[in-house]
């Protein structure tokens, strides 16, 4: 375990630790472009040069391993001059795009220029190397080759993380540029991570481009509910609109995000987002929709079944269990979901597309209920007149429901989720609009924090359930999501 000194502070580090990592441990920041903690070391950008005593030249901190007794300086005049020079080189051919560049405000060139350079360019605008701009590369990305600083993070991401190797540096010297096979799209299921790790405005997200200047965005840490992996994310939003999701890297679950999960927020803004109830195929106001559903439930009393959903939070599932047991007073309720879980592609995407299969288990443990097979059997044999559940869960009973004559009342956030033939649909506050507790495939409990509010009048599902119960004359007394969690241990 070598002990080294950086800027007068000493630290003992594991063998193999780089100077950059050691400095980080001491709270000393060394600027970097090509270095990324989850990619192989490339050492091409030279932004991380530091002075090491007795070394004849400056060394790259990202690729130099700490050795016993090293004395490192990160703020000497030599280092400062090197940083200025590196930036000058990188900017020789860089276009003057900041005012029209989507990266502005979170750009490695802008930030380091302000921190380490502030020098005037000695090169004329007219001599800059011109390259292809605004080039759509696949469904999610736009590439501006003029802005690229050739750090190769994108190249390494595609070869090391997705192992699809689409990108490479073509040509050489100042003729170099990033490219992929002609006619091919960059669409590997994780492509938007490239917009995150590109330190400049070369790769930008087609979805996010020009929607919002980054300095207007507020950040809320929450959970992606695109599948059972349950990646931690940061939602960037402003004035009740989410503009993008980015990963909130953590050692347990994720460094990256898949493209599917990253774009799940768009359901909130989709044209089919439900703000009213639906009876058969017509939209109706929330109150009458609720009353209609309550009336139908009362009417079918004795033959009502309730099913939870692995797409709902523990709170919402628990509220449904309470409704079944204490208000509808039926034994025909089911919280029995056994989807196979595990990472499907060796990266992040889970075999289980539902986010809360593991979280429904404690609800089942507390309330019991019948199995999925039993419920399907009872529906198919015509014993169930009305089924109340969440829209995507209803699809699990598609076969049993066919020709059973069962009236289906579902909760849905988007119209597209509603199963064909549903009698009534009640909207509820979706993933990014209300707090909820989920358990991912690793058994980790994750609570979502809503970055935005639900459309006016649209309430969390437990609240809608509470109302349904009171319309049917039995109060569940749920004043919060936490009330629903009472009696459940997880």
């Amino acid at each position: 375990m070598p002990t080294i000194t950086i800027d007068g502070k000493s630290i003992e580090v594991e063998k193999g630790t780089t100077l950059l990592a050691a400095a980080q441990k001491l709270g000393i920041y060394i600027p970097r472009y090509c270095y990324h903690p989850k990619l192989s070391i490339s050492g091409n950008c030279r932004m991380c040069l530091v002075e090491v005593e007795k070394a004849p030249k400056l060394l790259t901190a990202c690729s130099t391993e700490a050795a016993e007794g090293m004395v490192v300086r990160t703020t000497s005049d030599k280092v400062k001059a090197a940083r200025r020079d590196v930036l000058e080189y990188l900017l020789i051919n860089h276009p003057l795009d900041c005012p029209i560049c989507d990266q502005a405000g979170e750009c490695g060139l802008q930030d380091y220029y302000m921190d380490y350079s502030l020098a005037r360019s000695r090169f004329s605008m007219a001599d800059k190397v011109r390259r292809e701009k605004r080039r759509p590369i696949g469904p999610n990305l736009v590439l501006d080759n003029e802005r690229c600083i050739l750090c190769t993070r994108c190249v390494r991401f595609c070869s090391e993380v997705t192992k699809t190797s689409e990108l490479e540096v073509m040509n050489r010297g100042d003729h170099s540029y990033i490219d992929l096979k002609e006619g091919k799209a960059l669409d590997n299921g994780y492509s938007l991570n490239i917009a995150d790790i590109c330190p400049v405005g070369a790769f930008t997200s087609r979805d996010f481009r020009f929607k919002q200047r980054v300095w207007f965005l507020k950040r809320t840490k929450t959970v992606c509910l695109g599948c059972a992996t349950g990646c931690l994310v940061e939602a960037h939003h402003n004035e009740n609109v989410i503009y993008r999701l980015v990963p909130d890297p953590n050692p347990e679950t994720n460094t990256w995000l898949c493209d599917h999960g990253r774009l799940t927020y768009k359901a909130l803004q989709a044209g089919d987002r439900l703000k009213k109830g639906v009876i058969k195929n017509g939209l109706i106001e929330l109150e009458p929709a609720l009353r209609e559903a309550a009336t139908r439930i009362d009417e079918a009393r004795g033959a009502v079944a309730v099913m939870g959903s692995p797409w709902l939070s523990i709170e919402d599932n628990a509220a449904l269990a309470r409704l079944a047991r204490d208000s509808v007073k039926t034994g025909d309720y089911c919280f029995d979901f056994n989807f196979e879980q595990g990472i499907k592609d060796g990266i992040l995407i889970n075999k289980d597309q539902a986010p809360n299969t593991a979280g429904v288990r404690p609800v089942k443990a507390a309330y019991g209920g019948i199995s999925m097979g039993e419920l399907a059997g009872r529906i198919a044999s015509g014993k169930i007149k009305l089924l109340l559940t969440e829209a995507r869960a209803a699809a699990l009973l598609k076969d049993a429901l066919k020709d059973s004559g069962t009236r289906v009342v579902v909760f849905a956030a988007n119209r597209g989720e509603i199963p064909a033939g549903a009698y009534a649909t009640l909207p509820y506050a979706a993933y990014f609009e209300t707090p909820g507790t989920f358990i991912n495939y690793q058994g980790l409990r994750r609570r979502t924090t809503p970055p935005v509010a639900a459309p006016e009048g649209v309430k969390p599902l437990w609240d809608v359930v509470n109302k349904l119960a009171s319309y049917s004359g039995a109060s569940l007394g749920l004043d919060s999501g936490d009330d629903a969690l009472k009696g459940i241990s997880f």
Partner: protein, 164 residues
């Protein structure tokens, strides 16, 4: 894809691969072999070679575009490769390029209509001591001047130099 590596090529390639600890290390010698067959490395050739070596296509393309010795299109009978790197640049390479371009009526990267000349600018040819330098096919012409260049073009046109 219509393009296929010939059995002959594959047999030769296997031998070349065997010289290296890793199969993919044979990429450059194999590209040279491929270029020998048709005078250039076509897109389909890169695809086929990538599959043959178990490399991503992008890697092969990166190598082909890095080295100016690989042609990606059929070139003229004489491939004029003017060095534009620092030593040659300072010894007047730019003027030579411009002269060739105007004499032949083609820009960098183009081939004359009669199929005789292709003009390229390339990186250091490793003969800085006798800059400016131009490589024609595999042969070097050094210490060039405008007059020497004109004479050389004439000789080439009349088949007076260049064994091949």
């Amino acid at each position: 894809m219509a393009f296929k590596l010939s059995e002959e090529f594959k047999a030769k390639a296997d031998k070349i691969c065997a010289r290296y600890p890793r199969r993919d290390a044979a990429l450059i010698p194999l590209l040279l072999e491929l270029q020998k067959e048709t005078g250039y490395v076509a897109e389909e050739g890169m695809d086929a070679l990538a599959a043959f070596l178990g490399l991503p296509y992008s890697r092969v393309k990166a190598v082909v575009t890095f080295y100016t010795m690989f042609n990606r299109e059929p070139s003229g009978k004489y491939h004029l490769q003017v060095c534009r790197n620092i030593s040659c640049h300072m010894a007047g390479a730019e003027g030579l390029l411009a002269r060739l371009s105007s004499k032949l009526g083609i820009a960098e990267g183009e081939t004359t209509k009669d199929g005789l000349f292709t003009l390229s600018a390339v990186e250091c040819l490793g003969a800085c001591g006798s800059a400016p330098v131009m490589q024609v096919n595999e042969k070097y012409f050094e210490n060039l001047t405008g007059e020497k260049l004109d004479a050389l073009l004439d000789d080439l046109r009349h088949n007076r130099v260049m064994p091949r």
